[in-house]
Amino acid sequence: MVERRPIFDALQHAVLILGAAIFAFPIYLAFVASTHTGVEVSRGLPLLPGDQFAVNYATALGEGLSTSGAPPLALMLTNSMIMALSITFGKIAISLLSAFAIVYFRFPFRVLAFWTIFITLMLPVEVRILPTYEVVAGLGMLNSYAGLSIPLIASATATFLFRQFFMTVPDELVEAARMDGAGPMKFFKDILLPLSRTNLAALFVILFIYGWNQYLWPLLVTTDESYYTIVMGIQRMANVGEQQPQWHLVMATAILAMLPPVVVILTMQRLFVRGLVEVEK
């Protein structure tokens, strides 16, 4: 390992602190900006928090920026939450089941099925966005929660991850379960699911953030304000044409939009890290 010398320690810390600062500073600025009045912010960004915290956040959450054509924050946060959670649970459910089928059942074209799923890794939302839009529009799912979430649910990454995990589960465990009279679904529920706990947590975090941060897709499929999500809402607020953007409120919104992913990460952190680094067997 690396030698332990004071100079090395100091250097390591310097690098880490610098890195942390680079990440944290913009967030700090956003927070500072969200605690001043709009006039103060537009004159030049202060470096210390102001006294408008309560006022700004109350305004943002309650009325929103109706002048910029965006609905109240609470609604957008709810929309984002619904979309992110549907995507997360949908993706997890579908990929769990498809990985289970691919690993544990022998059916015709099993390998073909796996590769078909696998190849879709090469087609992220942005690449297939036009045909997907066409389909969603044709099905009349524009301006609906279904339209926001369903097209993003199919996931090769999660299927692949679960497949790899299932393949590390020893065959004897499957056989022991058969001897114990557990049918396939019982085995899935009683043994495979609990064993996948850490993987599930890791995926939950990753997929929730993926869903929460969706920008392009919600922008395309929603024209009705009541379905706006928070991430596209911020863009709406900042992009107001002739007027001066109300930066203090935009920043307050940005801070609020960051909170749910942070909460998810903090609550799942321990499981999340374990799910990424170790396989429980």
Binding site: E175, A176, R178, M179, G181, A182, D190, P194, K281
Partner: protein, 352 residues
């Protein structure tokens, strides 16, 4: 309680490999039958066919008079102990043992009673709330046993259950398993590649080679009258010595003419002579003159590895009650009376 009949069982894998070309075996009620053989001899495949984890390509398997070929493993009323124990890692010891009973829809207090009983038998009383990863290897092994016992099955199937334990624990557990099996009187099939385990545990010893049964019998019977060179070399430790020689006029002679003993076998110019290390004793005028290479003192006995003079053949003798020779010493050995085994050179079968 049940007897197990296997008749004409055959196993061909999807790729066309024939693991077992057709095999019949009868195991009586309450017997512990050990299947022993080198890796890849088909012993595990046979066990898994009885368990229902592998489908039999042909033949019939009956447990307690009931044909089980088309039954799911859980319906065959058997329990299996796996080599790596296959405990459910996320379940407590109690749940591990209770899982199979719950799936059978047993009553809650009946499950409690049976698990407690098994835990008491196996000395797992205080460990029921632990997770498998908090247990030592020996304790895990006992949980795996417990999972089999609580089911009160018609037969136990053991797939090399001791090979993950260290030598000392293996010896103790061997005795425990044997004791338990005798007390419960449950018919058992036990697969191992360890001839010592096989000898010490079996009521009925089945030596397998390349998917076929070489010999079936009581352990001592197999030890004393091995039917082939393969069995003779596999059962017994250190393994039997093989020398080339001939039979002429009822005399067994080495290639150099030295006389080893008498036999009733017909004349044969080329035979394989087998003699166990335990059957060799040092004697001044012994026909086997050898030069000592390595001496292994074991306490009660001494294993002497020596090379026969003028030949390349190695010979091992287990001596007891004599002063230990030193490497380089000349040593004359003679086989004890009636302790020679003769095998046909070409077929490897016993000829006397």
């Amino acid at each position: 309680m049940a007897e197990i009949h296997i008749s004409g069982a055959r196993k061909v894998y999807a790729g066309g490999t024939e693991a077992i070309p057709g095999l019949s075996l009868e195991i009586e009620d309450g017997q512990l039958c050990v299947l022993v053989g080198p890796s890849g001899c088909g012993k595990s495949t046979l066990l898994r066919m009885v368990a229902g984890l592998e489908e039999a390509t042909a033949g019939e398997i009956r447990i307690g008079g009931r044909v089980v070929n088309d039954l799911e493993p859980a319906e065959r009323d058997i329990a299996m102990v796996f080599q790596n124990y296959a405990l459910y890692p996320h379940m407590s010891v109690f749940d591990n043992m209770a899982y199979g009973l719950r799936n059978r829809g047993q009553k809650r207090d009946e499950i409690r009673r049976r698990v407690d009983e098994a835990a008491a038998i196996l000395g797992l009383d205080g460990l029921l709330d632990r997770k498998p990863r908090q247990l030592s290897g020996g304790q895990r092994q006992r949980v795996a046993m417990g999972r089999a016992i609580v089911r009160q099955p018609q037969a136990f199937l053991f797939d090399e259950p001791l090979s993950n334990l260290d030598a000392k624990l293996r010896m103790r557990t061997r005795v425990e398993i044997r004791d338990l099996q005798q007390r419960l009187g449950t018919t058992s099939i036990y697969v191992t590649h360890d001839q010592l385990e096989a000898m010490t545990m079996a009521d009925k010893l089945v030596v397998m080679n390349a998917g076929r049964i070489e010999q079936v019998g009581a352990p001592l019977e197999v030890y004393e009258r091995p039917v082939s060179v393969f069995v003779a070399g596999f059962i017994g430790a250190p393994p039997m010595n093989f020398l080339s020689g001939r039979v002429a006029d009822g005399e067994i002679r080495l290639a150099d003419g030295a006389r080893l003993g008498r036999t009733s076998a017909p004349d044969d110019p080329d035979v394989v002579i087998g003699v166990r290390p335990e059957a060799l004793e040092p004697r001044e005028d012994g026909p086997l003159r050898a030069r000592v290479r390595v001496v292994e003192p074991l306490g009660a006995t001494i294993n002497v590895h020596a090379r026969i003079e003028g030949e390349r053949d190695e010979i091992v003798a287990s001596l007891s009650g004599v002063p230990s020779p030193r490497p380089g010493d000349a040593l004359s050995l003679a086989p004890a009376e009636g302790e020679l085994h003769l095998f046909d050179r070409a077929s490897g079968r016993r000829i006397d």
